[in-house]
């Protein structure tokens, strides 16, 4: 049944997809947090222009794509740094200018070249062993650097000026981030194309952004808040009256499939004074002081949970699509 997995080209494709998806998701976290979302689109189309020029001149596509991608990312970064132009404006200009160049280069070609369009839409089944090695090498470098300098990249994403003022070489890290983004996009071009790479950068990070409220929660260990344990004695001493500020999230009325939007969840986390629950005989302690308890969202395990899930799904659809919703509710009942 799984014989097709023994095919070499399919193995390479699957590995390339996994590597590209992983590295784009990892760097996408910093891209989204730093507010550089559209740089993915700008750089990808600039790299495509580089590929088109390479085919026009008969040169190797990768160096041209790297030159165009890096050049565009750095120019956008410099313009933002000098404050002369807003980021979205400079990205918009570079995006359209490089795409126009790409179309010009393609138009200047004397024959139709299908390979060029492969870089626009991706051709994952034609990934070669060398390209796979290049993707794996870049993934290792990008993930390694992001892990090593997670602390600095997060400070940069939160407040670049404060990071610089606090003794972090934020400017260098900003350009390092731009360089890594450009390289990731260029190497992913052949696999997923200039359009899909933008989605791979944004969607995983944007999803995580909706579900987390802590740097530690958004991706794997990012260097902050490693030790969340606190001395329980200190907590007791801090409030001998037996009351404390708690951030425990109370069950909220269902207002959607995921229990409400992020804004509502943040409101629910506002502190409420509740009595401290002492440890019981079995040694079960009250939830840790000040710790945000998340509502666990798991797949339905029982038929009752499945029915409840479907009911909420129908409710959401009814709100989103008033005409289709009632039909679904009738179908469900």
């Amino acid at each position: 049944m799984v014989d097709f997995l023994t095919l070499g080209f399919l193995q390479r494709s699957l590995m390339a997809a996994a590597l590209t998806g992983g590295v784009c998701a990892a760097i996408g976290v910093f891209v989204v947090l730093r507010g550089l979302a559209f740089i993915g689109a700008g750089t990808a189309h600039a790299a495509f222009a580089g590929v088109a020029l390479a085919y026009l001149l008969g040169g190797p596509p990768m160096p041209f794509a790297i030159a165009f991608g890096l050049g565009t990312a750095w120019i956008i970064g410099l313009l933002e740094e000098r404050g002369r132009m807003k980021l979205d404006v400079s990205i918009g200009i570079s995006y359209t200018a490089t795409m126009a160049l790409a179309i010009l280069f393609i138009g200047l070609m004397k024959t139709y070249n299908a390979e060029v369009y492969g870089y626009l839409f991706g051709s994952i089944l034609s990934v070669t062993a060398d390209e796979l090695k290049l993707t794996a090498g870049l993934a290792a470098v990008v993930v390694g650097l992001l892990t090593l300098f997670a602390k600095e990249f997060f400070f940069l994403a939160f407040d670049q000026e404060m990071a610089e003022a606090s003794g972090v070489p934020a400017r260098r890290f900003f350009f390092l981030l731009l360089t890594l983004v450009a390289l990731t996009i260029v190497v992913s071009l052949k696999t997923v194309g200039a359009i899909l790479v933008f989605a791979l950068l944004l969607i995983p990070a944007a999803t995580a952004y909706q579900l987390t409220s802590s740097l530690r929660g958004g991706a794997h260990d990012r260097g902050f808040a490693q030790d969340r344990r606190r001395d329980p004695g200190l907590r007791a001493a801090a409030d001998p009256g037996g009351h404390r500020v708690s951030t425990d999230v109370q069950p909220a009325p269902d207002d959607g499939l995921l229990g409400g939007d992020r804004r509502a969840r943040l409101r629910r986390r506002r502190p409420a004074v509740v009595p401290v629950r002492p440890a019981d005989r079995s040694g079960h302690r009250a939830p840790r002081h000040g710790r945000v308890l998340r509502r666990r969202r798991t797949l339905p395990q029982t038929s009752a949970q499945a029915r409840d899930f479907l009911k909420r799904l129908a409710h959401c659809l009814q709100r989103a699509f008033p005409k289709v919703g009632p039909v679904l509710v009738r179908f469900q009942t």
């Binding site: 090593l148 602390k151 997060f154 952004y209």
Partner: protein, 276 residues
Amino acid sequence: MSHPHPAHTHPHHADHEHGKPLIRFDHASFWYPHGPALEDITLEIADGEFVGVIGPNGSGKTTLLRAILGLMPPTRGSLRIFDCACQNLRCYHRARIGYLPQKRAVDPYFPITAREAVLMGRSGAIGLWKRPGKADLEIVRHALEDVGMEDYEDHPLGALSGGQQQRVFIARALAQHPQILLLDEPTTGIDTTTQHTVLDLIQRLHEELHLTIVLVSHDINLIAPLAERLALLKTRLYALGSAKQVLTKEILAQVYGPQILTTDTGHVIVADHHHN
């Protein structure tokens, strides 16, 4: 709010020397593309000194702090921090300067807790690529206690009120264990009780740890009793000296206009012309 952490935990306390100038403006001018922000500033701030900076809106108070941070080199004249030209400030110099920027909007959905925000203040001290250790987490806890925010350490920063966020950012500046503390309108958006608590804390930090403090505020009456010297700015340095020397009717009238009055108790008030 507890007392600031003991003096011996502060790295700059033991080798404290009084009077050695840490910040030296020498006829320094700072220009933005649209015009001058500060002109011909000559000012020396000694180690352990508490200087209050006052002036009307757009007088260059924030620019003065940004210049001390090395974020804005002078277009004319010179500025030396820790006896190093501000253009050449290195990361280890900057790590010794704590900075509380003017209150600004924080992205309410940025995934960061109060503790993580304070831990960012340790970045310069921890060093590149290194992870925070137990000592750093302890310093962060002390800093949060100093500003009375220890109960909120695991709260998302975006869920805190503006005043609470301001206290978290003060804690971030304190966690840096700075030698120079630059505070830009630290009491903005904070309720009156907390304003006094924060100002008490700043004064204690100055007295017990001998931090060099440059505090910018538009509230003259709040800053005057605290600062050893006041600098009155309006693009140029109009006056520099004790509160008594600077807050005179003549000087204030020149900078703020004739409606500014001083009372016998030394308070500065605005004449209420609406009810005349």
